[in-house]
């Protein structure tokens, strides 16, 4: 299950959604709004997405993770709009019969989401200035690898 939402991420509902008695492992990763980036202080963040493509890419990631690992339940939720410090911007949750698959799938899902899913973050700093974050150093997705 994948979802883009303007509302706060409901972690209880996500854990409920991945609950499965065949699974001995349930893993939930949350990405939270951090106050400090080096010596720069964040006031809040704004996220925006190319919504239909972001949803399609998130579904592709879920399908690929299910192919690579034995995960029986999967939920990927990304928040959009304005987020305050400490709020969760993204949740990746998977359940699997054994923990290794859950850890590996969860790690791959969040890493790959950050590389290929068309969602952007705007930092609004404590001094009132704002900038869109466009990481230039990381390798960009190519048509072949997406």
């Amino acid at each position: 299950m994948v979802e883009l939402t303007e509302k706060p991420i409901d972690t209880e509902a996500i854990l409920q959604a991945i609950s499965d008695t065949r699974c001995g492992a349930a893993l939930l990763f949350l990405g939270n709004v951090r106050e400090w980036t080096g010596d720069q202080q964040t006031n809040h963040l704004v996220y925006e997405a190319y919504r239909p493509m972001a949803e399609a890419k998130m579904k592709e990631l879920e399908a690929e993770a299910r192919r690579r690992w034995e995960i029986l339940q999967c939920s990927i939720v990304h928040r959009l709009g304005k987020l305050e410090l400490g709020e969760a911007s993204v949740a990746v949750a998977v359940s699997s019969p054994h923990r290794r698959d859950a850890f590996e799938a969860g790690q791959w899902l969040i890493d790959t989401l950050k590389e290929v899913v068309p969602i952007w973050k705007q930092e609004v700093w404590a001094d009132g200035s704002a900038e869109w974050v466009h990481p230039e150093n990381e390798s960009n997705p190519t048509p072949e690898s997406s």
Binding site: Y50, P52, L113, K114, P118, W120, Q122, P143, S146
Partner: protein
């Protein structure tokens, strides 16, 4: 008569692309047979401030990442994808 047909393209701008162009979308007409590369050249001419950045950005055609040689067809939806920063 040997008239060159044209195709209509809808371009979507997000994040800094929207800030640079001052708009979230843009419609343009290109000659039939035009590719993504032709479209980006057109966009740089229309929005010169894109010149420094656009060559390093990904392009999506109908919600899939494509390379510069990909041909366009009439009614295509193209999105400029500056380096993503979700998560």
């Amino acid at each position: 008569m040997n008239q060159v047909k044209s195709i209509h393209i809808e371009v979507l701008f997000f994040a800094s692309a929207r800030e640079i162009t001052g708009s979230s979308n843009y419609r343009c007409e290109l000659p039939e047979g035009a590719t993504i590369e032709d479209l980006t050249a057109h966009l740089i001419e229309r929005f010169p401030e894109l010149a420094q950045r656009l060559p390093r950005w990904q392009i999506a055609l109908r919600q899939e990442y494509v390379n510069p040689q990909t041909p366009l067809s009439d009614g295509a939806e193209v999105a400029l994808i500056p380096p993503v920063s979700g998560g």
